[in-house]
Symmetry: C2
Subunit: 99 residues, 2 copies
């Protein structure tokens, strides 16, 4: 399992209609096939500069690649992410068993 996450900050004012619209659009990514546990998250630690996060899981790198190439994802990145996100960081995880 690969958990793909991105933590981000929008250019929009906190609590604005533009913010709500962006988060709704982001949530449509959950309809892309072969993805599990999609979550739209509020970032609540004062120890970083980000306000939101997205998290999702893929069973394989192939599923992750398909997501990246999916037209819905490509359009979201091109039409919304590039112009509305002020800063972001991608973090991907796989579980480690007892070492």
């Amino acid at each position: 399992v690969i958990r793909h996450t991105v933590v981000f900050k929008l250019k929009h004012p906190l609590g604005s209609a533009l913010e709500r619209d962006f988060l709704n659009a982001a949530q449509n990514l959950a309809t892309i096939p072969n993805m599990a546990k999609f979550e739209c998250l509020r970032q609540v630690s004062a120890k970083n500069k980000f306000d939101f996060g997205l998290s999702m899981e893929f069973e394989s790198q192939a599923d992750y690649d398909s997501y990246n190439l999916h037209p819905l994802h490509a359009a979201f990145v091109e039409d919304r992410w590039k112009s509305e996100v002020a800063d972001f960081l991608e973090i991907d995880y796989t579980p480690i068993g007892r070492v």
Copy 2:
């Protein structure tokens, strides 16, 4: 629910015995009460500088506070984290429903 995560990089060589020992010590944090879904994770994206992550969930801020103050956590931070971690970022999340 509050999901507390920290993504980090160790001073130890990747794959070293020192690394394994640190990760084992980190996994003992899972014995602290009122915590759920503890995970020790490998960070696998090339888009950031970190190698590992920890993730856990608390039902309330009070449980999160208790974890922070717990002697096992305090000792781990003082005895291991401060001397063995090269860089880290704390990210905490709460779920957002359909906005």
